[in-house]
Amino acid sequence: MDRVVEQGIQGVSALAITGEGSLTGGRPAPGGTDRRRRRSTAGWLLFPSLTLVLAGLILPLALMARTSVAHFDAASPDLVGFTLENYARFFGEPFYLMILARTLLVALSCTAICLVLGVPAAFVISRVESRTLKTALILATIIPLLMGNAVRAAGWMVLLADKGLINSALLSAGLIAEPVRILYTGSAVVIGLIAVLLPFMVISLESVFENIGTAYEEAAQTMGAPPWTAFFRVTLPLAMPGVFSGCLLCFVLAMNAYATPVLIGGPSFQMMAPKVFEQAIKVYNWPFAATIALVLMAVTLVLSVASSLALQKRYGVL
């Protein structure tokens, strides 16, 4: 189990890294005919996976892009026209811009809190001596992922409802007089999303802390640095690539969140991905739904690339 779990951790942290970070490139390739032979087998080896992604993802997305510039006609199911009216509607109405802003706010808050909680968790796990304890802790982080969003949301409903566990406990302890409204608010969504995203953050960071090792901290200590200084001036900067990749993964997953906002955010707390679903399924306005979807992906992509470039300037290639 340990070996498999380790592989899993390495791979997940590698998954989060968008740049070349984890792969040591530049291995000398064999020369001459060997290279040509390698190119052709490479082609064959890559062909099936690329076909799958092209047919299953890229082409459908292209169709979606085409739909987003079509004219919405409730009576006709065919794609007609070329118009930018859907985009004009999205960017022209403060209501939709507010939904985008709210989604961004939720995603950024979740990422920040996941970072604040994930760093200690990952650090502690990486420094644990006992092998079994370490594996147990990592499994405790991964197994909740097996629940699936729907069941996890059900768990939060049980905990956060006005007559749920937390309120009942606080009421019977006499700490509050009236139940605190948590369920079906933005706070519930943030709490629910953090529970989903923390395992990804912890796993991303854990292997990074593991790889850094304690040598640098010990060196700092011999030079008289107290623990906090050693941590913030030595360990954390070295872990920056992992921190960034963990944050990026959390941010993207939070922006795309659907089940959690729908199930525990309540009808008044509207976010982007649920909006896509609503416009497609309840209003049958597929062109507008496609527009919202593309705006969501574009914003996420732009922010990811921009922050990646900004951090690369500061810390070098991540």
Binding site: A74, A75, P77, D78, F95, M98, A161, D162, K163, Y184, G266, P267, S268, Q270, A280, I281, K282, V283, Y284, N285
Partner: protein
């Protein structure tokens, strides 16, 4: 089963069917044996609604038949969207689809539902006049009425306008997915009608200001709120009120003086359904007195036929009086279908924001 109302001369003795209705239909339909085998895809709401209909009607009626019923359960928006998406395809994945009357109108107008050949459904003659439609066989009907907690509100509310009463501030419950019913309720109680809801929008904004209604994502959540006495008054389908009262929730229902907003539930056949014969057999079986009685008891709605087999005590509990029926406000289907998208938009932008 001793119900022997329909017997044809050419009884198919190869199959001894528990439901005499199905037996009778088999005698009337050509190629009936083919239709009675194979699969029938029935699309319905899920949860206990479907459980009860399956236990009360489908299982007894089709237990001995070779036809296997496969359910496609999902909330109505998804089911409608899929029906619409399949409009262009050469086949529909669903044979029988359960819808409300307004949704059935919409689907029919969009070219999704078959116009039914009533000669295949002899029992259709028993359907209550007001509920008959050419594309839809109603099974049950009810109305949107007022729900209230009798302990907290000793005098039963008499009008939809009671939802605006400042005495109930913070205690008014609203279900998000029934937005259209609240728009109708607001219109009816503030000088509008089923065909003109323009007065509803300012009225609902007033409601927001005066009573700060609580919004719930589902019937279940509203029920929980009533149980916890978080809310004391709401508007919902009569059947839900009857059901919840039976389950011991602290509530009663009262009929509003403007008349309840009528709703009926039934089934239709999508165009290009695969098992059309089976679908007709299903609809015919549904209208049989025993089946109708079972559906009424199972769903707590009044039945759509005049010869349903409902026990006398339950009749009083489940059915409306003649006066109440006369006052029922039916949906103006073309108006509703045309305006729905705007209503959703307004609801999302103004009311919920």
């Amino acid at each position: 089963m001793t119900d022997q109302t329909i017997l044809g001369p050419a009884l198919d003795r190869r199959r001894l069917l528990a439901g005499a209705a199905v037996l009778g239909t088999a005698a009337l339909l050509p190629g009936a044996s083919r239709a009675q085998s194979g699969e029938l895809v029935v699309s319905n709401w899920g949860g206990d609604w479907n459980e009860r209909i399956a236990k009360g009607f489908e299982e007894p009626a089709f237990a001995a038949s070779a036809m296997r019923i496969i359910h496609d359960l999902a909330p109505v928006p998804e089911r409608k969207a899929k029906l619409l998406a399949e409009r262009r395809l050469p086949r529909s994945s669903v044979d029988v689809t359960w819808l409300s009357d307004a949704d059935a109108y919409e689907m029919s107008a969009q070219g999704v539902l078959e116009t039914l050949d009533m000669s295949h459904i002899p029992s259709a003659g028993h359907i209550i006049e007001k509920l008959r439609r050419p594309y839809f066989i109603p099974a049950a009907y009810g109305g949107v009425v007022l729900l209230y907690n009798p302990a907290r509100i000793p005098q039963p509310p008499t009008s939809f306008a009671d939802l605006w009463n400042p005495k109930y501030a913070g205690r008014v419950g609203i279900i998000d997915q029934l937005y259209f019913n609240y728009i109708y309720a607001a219109a009816l109680s503030h000088g509008g009608s089923m065909s003109d809801v323009s007065k509803a929008f300012p009225a609902l904004m007033e409601m927001k200001k005066q009573v700060q209604p609580r919004l719930y994502p589902s019937h279940q959540a509203l029920a929980a709120a009533f149980k916890a006495e978080e809310i004391w008054i709401s508007a919902n389908y009569s059947a839900r009120a009857i059901q919840w009262e039976k389950e011991g929730l602290p509530l009663r229902w009262s009929y509003p003086k403007e008349g309840a907003v009528a709703i009926s539930f039934g089934a239709g056949i999508p165009k290009r359904a695969r098992n059309v014969d089976g679908a007709y057999a299903y609809l015919e079986a549904m209208l049989q007195p025993k089946a109708m009685g079972a559906i009424s008891l199972a769903t707590s709605y009044a039945v759509a036929t005049d010869n349903a087999d409902v026990p006398v005590e339950d009749r009083k509990r489940l059915e409306f009086t003649a006066d109440q029926i006369a006052k029922l406000n039916f949906v103006d289907y073309p108006y509703a279908a045309k305006s729905d998208a705007q209503w959703i938009e307004w609801w999302n932008k103004e009311f919920k924001a």
